[in-house]
Symmetry: C3
Subunit: 204 residues, 3 copies
């Protein structure tokens, strides 16, 4: 029950981040909603395609789609207010990222994926929506060149898989992985951590 | 039989719109053909991936691939002529969009998708090719910020699903949904309807 | 055995080409690795999605993922050295492209795909990674407007399918198709062959 509520919080945070990008890009109402909804459920759709779950569960889930759509419409009309909540949205987004990484990996394990594949698919659930968002609005995905976002997702889903392999219960594994992923992401935001960039790149 | 012919007309119109974008983007002969063919069959491929139809039926369909390829080659060599037919292509494209939305939803229902998923997958069949086209040529998808294109597709495929749920026959449902989607699209083109854009967006 | 080694060589060449693009685009360490790995295994993942192989075999293959990751990290730190090997990477990339086209088509045939679909899916295995690479870093895919890259891939995988249909053994078919695809690609590089571009395109 708590998990369901937290997941919805994550969905709404993802949708808001996507819709805000759409507003900045001057999309119309439909474009803002599509980017918002896609950011929220895109990672889960890719996860389900990789795991042979058809049709992807997000596409049949009124609650997810409805929440993401409502959040996107809200952002479209109230973006000046919402964009002041940037800090709060980043925190909720970090929570959603951690949850998606671990629940995604759990779903992959249950669908019979090997440990390596399960960890990768879990991380894909968490970062896929953000990548699709940036590809749709024609930007180089943010997580490829700024922020520490994907590494926490990978670590969280790897920890979940390792904990399950070591015999820990599902709930303990979920808490461990999510706290690690979300905590590391928040720490990176707070301390301004980022990965090194290549030095003196050629300009083509 | 009539349906098959109309579908081919839609495929050719989609391929032409894709190939024209490729010419404008100065792609080479292969690039123009790939973008044309992808615009024509991309939505159907995504639909089949979502519905677990393997390999996607478009990839085995000589008639679709051949028509889309022929239309793309034609556009490559005769683009100055073809681009004068812009209005006619838009009308045929609207017909193709309406047909893809309703036949896509029909295929989804037959593959066992729930109503919500069937309506979304139908709309995806209709708009997926255009989104893939714009992502391939590195543009923000047109339907995210201009034109009323996706809403008619969604309405058409929703009407088809509703009609089937209410017990209407397959043919009546197809006609209802297609006429609504194509008609609304043509009306929007004629009257210059579009959705609102967010006001005073922040420039990042 | 030889085939396995050659495939690894192809994987490494693909990863290097992807990672070099990531360095030029000033991605961070994670971004360079993700683009490198995706370029190497992305075509195979799309192939497996089209063929209903779940989860995609590349995601469970430590050897492929590890080699691609190691090659990407190497490029990140030694890109000034690696970029001087551009010519050598192009040759290895041509080998990888030819192998992926023919092994991809072979896997498609074994998964029950019809000849046309098998040839298209084989070519997709070979060119899919490069397209995903360019979409991720926000460029119009190179093979759509420069170079003769996709045509050799298509011919190689078509020859493999034709040879198998004509009753040739699997190994002979692999050699025929790969030599044709890789040879034609190298010849095109050497002679500077390219496809025509549309003349006097409209500028929108």
């Amino acid at each position: 029950m708590l998990l369901k509520i937290l997941e919805l919080v994550g969905i709404v945070a993802f949708a808001m981040s996507g819709a805000l990008v759409g507003v900045v890009k001057r999309l119309d109402l439909f474009g803002v909603c599509l980017v918002g909804v896609f950011t929220a459920v895109g990672g889960g759709i890719v996860r389900d395609l990789l795991l042979d779950i058809h049709p992807p569960s997000s596409l049949s889930n009124w609650r997810y789609l409805g929440s993401a759509l409502a959040a996107s419409v809200l952002v479209f009309y109230l973006h000046t207010v919402v964009s002041k909540l940037n800090r709060e949205i980043l925190v909720l987004d970090a929570l959603g990222m951690g949850l998606f990484a671990t629940t995604g990996a759990t779903i992959a394990i249950e669908a019979g994926a090997q440990p390596l594949a399960a960890a990768l698919i879990g991380a894909t659930s968490a970062i896929g929506g953000g990548i699709l968002r940036d590809v749709l609005v024609n930007e180089v995905p943010l997580l490829l060149h700024r922020d520490l976002y994907a590494i926490p997702a990978l670590l969280g889903s790897a920890v979940l898989v390792a904990a399950r392999e070591l015999g820990f219960g599902q709930n303990i594994a979920l808490v461990l992985g999510t706290v690690l992923a979300t905590g590391l992401r928040l720490l990176a935001l707070w301390r301004g951590w980022s990965l090194p960039q290549a030095r003196v790149p050629r300009e083509d």
